[in-house]
């Protein structure tokens, strides 16, 4: 936490957790999908489920799914923008066990038919935590530039990533790895001190067994 977390963030009201956090989760989902969203199922849990209308959490998530930032005044009319841009959505509530009170599950389908499912919590002050990605337990906030790699668990995967980031002279601040089972689906989340060059990101995308490589810049 630092001074711009206290004098800031600059955001659309009324609630840093219910509005700014919700927009951020929508935007992260859009980035993880990697293409414009055609359809989204939005399910609110807990306090989100009780107050989404009055806090504009629905408009915030929809705006985020359209790629809007947390301080974009267009968040207010995001439902209208969704209609204009041909993004269909539905909103419902869900009761989850052992989930943070401000949790939302978003299932998004893109132009190409690709889908992504994100379960994330808005943990306060506009900060968020992605807890499940496509059903797999993860944990990343997107507060720094973050590289998310979905891949097949295999020896040497981490070495390939660190080699390409070193070639790009990008320092890794933190790194976490998650997997379903040995040899199964896996996710790497790397917080970076700077943005790697596009050519190195492309090289990562070509690594066999790497299904999806996303650079989150929330």
């Amino acid at each position: 936490m630092h001074v711009f977390d206290i004098i800031g963030p600059i955001m659309i009201g009324p609630s840093s957790s219910h509005t700014a956090g919700a927009a951020r989760i929508g935007r992260i989902t859009r980035m993880l999908l990697g293409e414009p969203v055609r359809q989204a199922h939005i399910r609110f849990h807990g306090s989100f489920a009780k107050t989404w209308e009055g806090h504009g959490a629905d408009r915030a998530v929809i705006g985020g799914l359209l790629g809007l930032q947390v301080d974009d005044p267009d968040l207010r009319r995001s439902r209208h923008l969704a209609a204009e841009q041909g993004m269909a959505y539905d909103i419902s509530s869900v009761q989850l066990r052992d989930a943070h009170p401000n949790t939302v599950i978003i299932e998004a389908t893109g132009d190409s038919g690709k889908t992504v499912t994100v379960q994330a919590a808005s943990v306060g002050g506009g900060s968020v935590m992605v807890q499940y990605l496509n059903g797999m337990e993860v944990g990343f906030s997107g507060s720094k530039t973050t590289l998310i790699i979905q891949h097949k668990d295999a020896p040497g995967a981490i070495a390939k990533v660190s080699r390409l980031l070193a070639a790009s002279r990008t320092n890794i601040a933190t790194m976490r790895v998650f997997r379903e089972e040995a040899g199964g689906r896996a996710v790497m989340a790397l917080e970076l001190d700077s943005e790697p060059e596009e050519t190195h990101i492309d090289a990562l995308r070509r690594v066999p067994g790497f299904e999806s490589v996303t650079l989150l810049r929330v």
Binding site: H2, I6, G8, M11, G13, T51, L75, G124
Partner: protein
């Protein structure tokens, strides 16, 4: 320094003020800013957004999404400018602007959380009205924002700035403490007096509960912004008068944390107690 007012005052003594100490700390801890100019630019941007939210909130047509609040800041400002407020023009304008920013927030307008969205009216109302009244430069207001930020950071680290954790004392209370310190700085108070002003404001709002009707940041939140800014102003005035706060600021912050921990969950942003439980507010 980020956890202790005592250490902040020591740094301030060697660097020539709390704003300088905060800038120096921030430059070392935030890897997204490279220079003091970058940082000051971001603060100026925050100041510009604060100005916009004041004018948006003063529009009599402002209404929240739920329809519970809006349009009252315009009434307050009109009363303040025509001599109908008991507290006089300066106090009236400060309070009206505090309400304006809070109503702008409730209406999904753009605001600067300071330290939170629910308490976003207090700091901008005081700084911008002080500028109008006494002619401070934007540069002085930017220094005041760093000072407010320094106290807010310590409160966040030692206690809490989240209503769900510490009640409204953590939101409007913290904002009042930060604002009291900033006002004291603008009026020429020493770093020690700025810390005393912060302590007075926190002391006077200690125990304030978070009880939003229907769980929304509206009733009583927007009105509490008015209450908190008036507490900030009197806290600053006590310090500026030479009244020493008998309890050191760090200890008041620690007490605030203990009080927050002792609050039942019905009074910590669940919408189940306090104003939220009043019979006329429970009807849909």
């Amino acid at each position: 320094m980020e956890r202790s007012v005592t250490k902040l005052l020591t740094r301030a003594a060697s660097l020539g003020g709390i704003a300088a100490a905060m800038r120096e700390w921030q430059l070392r801890h935030d890897d997204t800013v490279r220079t003091v100019e970058d940082m000051d630019g971001r603060m100026r941007q925050a100041l510009a957004v604060m100005r916009e939210s004041v004018s948006q909130g003063l529009d009599p047509k402002t209404r929240s999404v739920s329809g519970l609040t809006g349009g009252n800041a315009a009434k307050y400002m009109a009363a303040a400018l025509t001599g109908r407020t008991a507290g006089g023009s300066l106090m009236g304008r400060i309070c009206a602007r505090s309400l304006a920013v809070a109503e702008c927030n409730a209406a999904m307008g753009r605001i600067v959380a300071a330290p939170t969205a629910g308490a976003c009216g207090i700091l901008p109302a005081a700084l911008l009205t002080m500028q109008e009244e006494y002619g401070y430069t934007d540069g002085q207001l930017v220094d005041a924002l760093y000072i407010a930020g320094a106290f807010g950071l310590i409160i966040a680290n030692r206690a809490s700035i989240a209503g769900a954790q510490g009640g409204c004392q953590a939101e409007c209370g913290s904002a009042a403490g930060m604002t009291a310190a900033a006002i004291t700085f603008l009026k020429g108070g020493s770093p020690r007096q700025q810390a005393d002003a912060c302590a007075f404001a926190l002391m006077n709002l200690m125990g304030l509960v978070c009880d939003p009707v229907h769980g929304l940041v509206e009733v009583p939140c927007v009105f509490r912004n008015v209450g908190a800014v008036s507490v900030a102003l009197s806290a600053a005035d006590m310090a500026l008068s030479g009244i020493d706060c008998p309890i050191p600021c760090d200890e008041v912050i620690d007490a605030m944390r203990q009080v927050g921990d002792a609050l039942p969950s019905t009074l910590r942003e669940t919408g189940e107690g306090g104003c939220a439980a009043c019979p006329s507010m429970c009807k849909k």
